[in-house]
Each structure stands twice: as structure tokens, then as C-alpha cells.
């Protein structure tokens, strides 16, 4: 595999991991604009562990997820008191603070950046990404997925149905942040050098865009969103700025025409032939014995 191709494939895998970090809170109806901060926590903590304590990279990356998830759990309680646009802005402020703190932490290089000694190659990163995707997919096949979707669709009704809305929101927020932390750890250990400036608000926004483009209704959406918008610009081979212009224009058009994202639940079921010919309640009604007439 050529260096160029490997670079792109690694970026693709890391972006996919990031996308799932954004997908979990979005699936529960939260817009997390502080993902870059959690990715930074993951990147720096894993880099510190593998540099100073000589932990093997994979173990360090696992700790990266734990670190980011723990920080998210601690801040989740006050942050999730806010909702809607306030929540988005609180997470945004959080991301900015994490970035600013790292810029001032001399122990990890501060503004000069932090070199990482250990190095992992594409197969390891791809395997980790596959594991993350598989775990999220499994998670959404359980009651968790149904509950989170219910919270996303209507908090009040979910609450009435006996779902602990708060617990699921905190869980989605913390798990998403942990995944973003793992993504940050992967990034740090492949590119061998991290700087706080990389983990800025644009990164958070881009991650959220991957998810929204792919669609939040299905687990496959974020994968597709991240893949399309990592690979498409490379294929177009345009100059960096035209690339961004095309990306932005595509986004505007897509949001206008398909506000639910590229992949929606109903469409996917239709495509895979899993669609019931009629809605479930209609099917059940048809199967019921007919009431005697008259």
C-alpha cells in the first residue's frame, strides 16, 4: 500500500470512529459541538501514557477512550441540564476550554505540539474502527437503541413510557465522547505528532456534518457520511479551497433536499427488502380474527 493511499485510508478510519462519536449523542437528540475537545483529551492522554509509561499503543488508546468518557461523565450532569441550542453551545464552550487548557499545559508541549514515539499502521487502525462500528451496531440492536431513538423522537413520551431519559442521554453523551477519545488516540499514534490547534471547532463541526450527511436514523449512516466526505474530495483532486467550496455547496443542497441525511431508516429497509408491505399495525390488524358483523 503506497504511503499516500495509507494516509487516506487511515484518515477514513479515524473519521469513521469520530463520526460514531458524534452519532451516539445525535441519535439521542443532542448536538455535541465539543467532540474535538474529547478527541483532544483522548489523543493527549494516550500519547502521554505511551510516551511516559511506555504502554503499548492499543492499551493507551483504550485508556484514551476511558479518559475522554470519564471527563464526559463528570461534565455530563451540569452540561445536560441545558437543552437544544443551549446544549450545543455549552458543549462548544467545553471544547474551546479543553483546547485552551491543552495549549497551556507545558507537560504535553503546550502550543508547540506533542510528538508521539509509538506508531501504529493502517491494519491496526482499521481493525479498531471495525470494532467500534460493530460495538455501536450491537448496542443499537439492543433495548438501548430503541430507548435512545424514543428519547430522540419525543422526550416527553419516552419519559411516560418509563424510559429514564436522563440516564440514556448521559450514557449516549459519555459513550460518544469515549469513542471520540479513541479516535483521537488513533490519530495521535499514526501521525506521530499532535497539536491542540488541530482539535478546534472546525473539527467538531466537520464530525457533526459527517453524521448529519449520512443520517442519524440508521447505524450505517455515519459510516457512509464519513466515507463519502473523506474520499470524494480526494477523488475530485481539486485544489484544497475549491474542495471546501464544493463540500459546503453539496452540504447546503443536501440539507435542502434530504434533511434527514443520505440514509433513512425506511429507505434502507426498502432497499434491503426488509420492508413490511404494510405498516406493522396494519399487518397485525389484518391477522386478527374478523369481528362478527351484525
Amino acid at each position: 500500500m503506497s504511503g499516500y493511499l495509507e494516509g487516506i485510508m487511515v484518515l477514513l478510519a479515524v473519521n469513521v470512529v469520530f463520526a460514531y462519536g458524534g452519532f451516539l449523542p445525535l441519535a439521542a437528540g443532542q448536538l455535541n459541538l465539543g467532540l474535538a475537545g474529547f478527541a483532544a483529551i483522548g489523543a493527549y492522554s494516550s500519547a502521554y501514557l505511551s510516551n511516559v509509561f511506555k504502554l503499548p499503543p492499543l492499551l493507551a488508546i483504550a485508556f484514551a477512550g476511558i479518559a475522554a468518557g470519564t471527563v464526559a461523565l463528570i461534565v455530563a450532569v451540569p452540561v445536560l441540564r441545558t437543552r437544544g441550542i443551549y446544549l450545543a453551545l455549552a458543549t462548544f464552550a467545553l471544547g474551546q476550554i479543553v483546547q485552551a487548557i491543552i495549549l497551556n499545559l507545558e507537560i504535553v508541549g503546550g502550543a508547540a505540539g506533542y510528538p508521539v514515539a509509538a506508531f501504529i499502521r493502517f491494519p491496526t487502525i482499521a481493525a479498531t474502527a471495525v470494532v467500534v462500528v460493530a460495538l455501536v451496531w450491537l448496542l443499537f440492536a439492543t433495548r438501548f437503541g430503541i430507548a435512545v431513538t424514543a428519547v430522540h423522537d419525543d422526550e416527553r413520551v419516552a419519559d411516560l413510557m418509563g424510559i429514564d431519559v436522563r440516564a440514556f442521554q448521559v450514557a449516549a453523551f459519555a459513550l460518544g465522547s469515549a469513542i471520540a477519545g479513541v479516535g483521537g488516540g488513533l490519530y495521535a499514534h499514526h501521525f506521530s505528532f499532535i497539536e491542540a490547534q488541530y482539535f478546534n471547532i472546525s473539527l467538531s463541526i466537520t464530525i457533526v456534518l459527517y453524521v448529519l450527511l449520512g443520517g442519524t436514523q440508521t447505524v450505517i449512516g455515519p459510516l457512509l457520511g464519513a466515507a463519502v466526505f473523506t474520499l470524494l474530495p480526494e477523488l475530485l483532486r481539486a485544489s484544497a479551497n475549491w474542495r471546501y467550496v464544493a463540500f459546503a455547496a453539496a452540504l447546503i443542497v443536501l440539507m435542502a433536499l434530504r434533511p434527514e441525511g443520505l440514509v433513512t431508516g425506511a429507505q434502507l429497509r426498502r432497499l434491503l427488502g426488509l420492508a413490511r408491505a404494510q405498516p406493522r399495525h396494519a399487518a397485525i390488524a389484518a391477522a386478527l380474527p374478523k369481528e362478527p358483523s351484525g
Binding site: G84, A93, N104, I201, V245, P259
Partner: protein, 280 residues
Amino acid sequence: MLGSIYAMVAVALTLSIGVLRFLNFSIPGLFMIGGMTAWASLRAGLPWPLAIVAALGAGALASLVVERFTWRWMRGAQDFVPLVSSMAFLLLFEHLAVIYWGSELRTVPPLFANADWRIAGLVISVPQLAGLAASIALIWALTLVLARTRLGRGLRTIAEDSDTALLLGVEINRIVPVVFLISGLFAALAGVIFALNYRQVQPFMGEMVGLKGISAMIVGGMGSVWGSIAGGLIIGLVEVMSIGYFGADFVDIAVYGLLLLILFIRPTGLFAAAFAGQRA
């Protein structure tokens, strides 16, 4: 001084939040368009009043384009959809500006040969003073429009409930562009004042100011015009004070820390009496 620029950006943002419940992320882009157009038209040899008019026109026009593709298209979609589109517009504007004007820092020529007044040892720059006066006058005019005119009544109705407004015969598709026009003008004017005072512009100039403007809006209270102004001045003050006490590295921690604290304690902001539409 930076405080009053934050305040103007915050007013632009707060109008769109207060009336339309729409956090318009393209406003930092409009700020940049204002500043960059002022620089480009001065360089092209236009006299400065014309350059300012050109900058304001460009900002307003761009804002109307944003309206066409965000709010009008996506009314009734999920909350974050117009938000995402406006972020895309920010990206679009920035990178188009890089393509046309290049990404390097440009210097704006000074307007007046010696524009500083010295009064009892204080140095007061005339462009700063003029900018401050213009922004206060404009904001005051805006609150009058909101409170007194037929347009203001329409806006306040939309702010309360856009469906009811439609039923009552408020022409949403004619009034909403006015909101975008005004917020575009405010953002572009802030950009022009920034360009004339700091005499440096570049395509990404909007991001830092825009993010601080958002913080100012929240600190002051979303949707409240005077709250935004207070918020802008507070953010400016916190910046200056944290540079004074802790050094320049801690500015962002102080500003965003304050923002987070206010979101936790009083998410409606310090001065949120009501939405802009409901009480000017």
C-alpha cells in the same frame, strides 16, 4: 473597543435567534465579507464612503442568499438543519474569499492621516469613536423599529409563533428577508469597523470574532438586543482583564469558562427579560 464589535455581531445573531429561533452561523462569514469588501474596494481606488456602502451591500446581499437556502427551505425541518446549512455557508464564504483574495493578512490603508485626538493624555482614535457612535445609533434605531413600526409588529408576531403569524396575515416570506437583511448589515458593518480600526483583514477573520459574538449573545441573554450589547462589553472587559491579570494565554479559558458558567447557572443569560420580538 473590541467589546463593541462583539456587541454588534451579537446583535446580528440575537435578531435571528430572537425572531426566527435560528442560530445563524453564517454571520461570522458576513462579518468577514464586510471587512474584506471594504479592503478590496479601497484597494480598487474607491473613496471610503463608497467602499463602506459596497461592503454593507455585499454583506446584505450574501445574507439574503443565506435566507433563500436556509430558513425559507427548511422551515419545519429539525432544529439543527438550518444551523448546519448556515455552517456550510460560513465554510463556503471563507473559502471563496481565499480563492478570490488569497489567504494572507491584508493591510487596510488608514482613512485619515492622523486620526487620533489627544485629550488630557488620553489617546482617542477617531475611527474607533465613530464606530462606537454608529453602532449605538444603529442599535437604538433597531429597537425603535421593533417597538413602533408595522414591520416591528410583524416581527414580534413571528417571534411568538410563526404559524399564528401566518394565519393572521403576516407575510412571512416578505418579513423574514428583512431580518436577514438587518442582521447582514450589522455583521458587515462590524466587519467594516474592525477593518478600519485594526487595519488588517483576512478570510478567516470572522471565526474568532464570531465565536466571541456568540458568547456575548449568550452571556447577555439570547434574543435580547440590549442584553447582547451588555454581553459584548462584558466579554471585551473579561478579555482585557484576564490579559492584565493572568496573561494572554488564559484569555480563552476565562471567556469560555464564563460562558459555560452562565449556561449552567442561568442559561437564559444575565439580562434576558424577553425575546427581542416580545419586548425590544
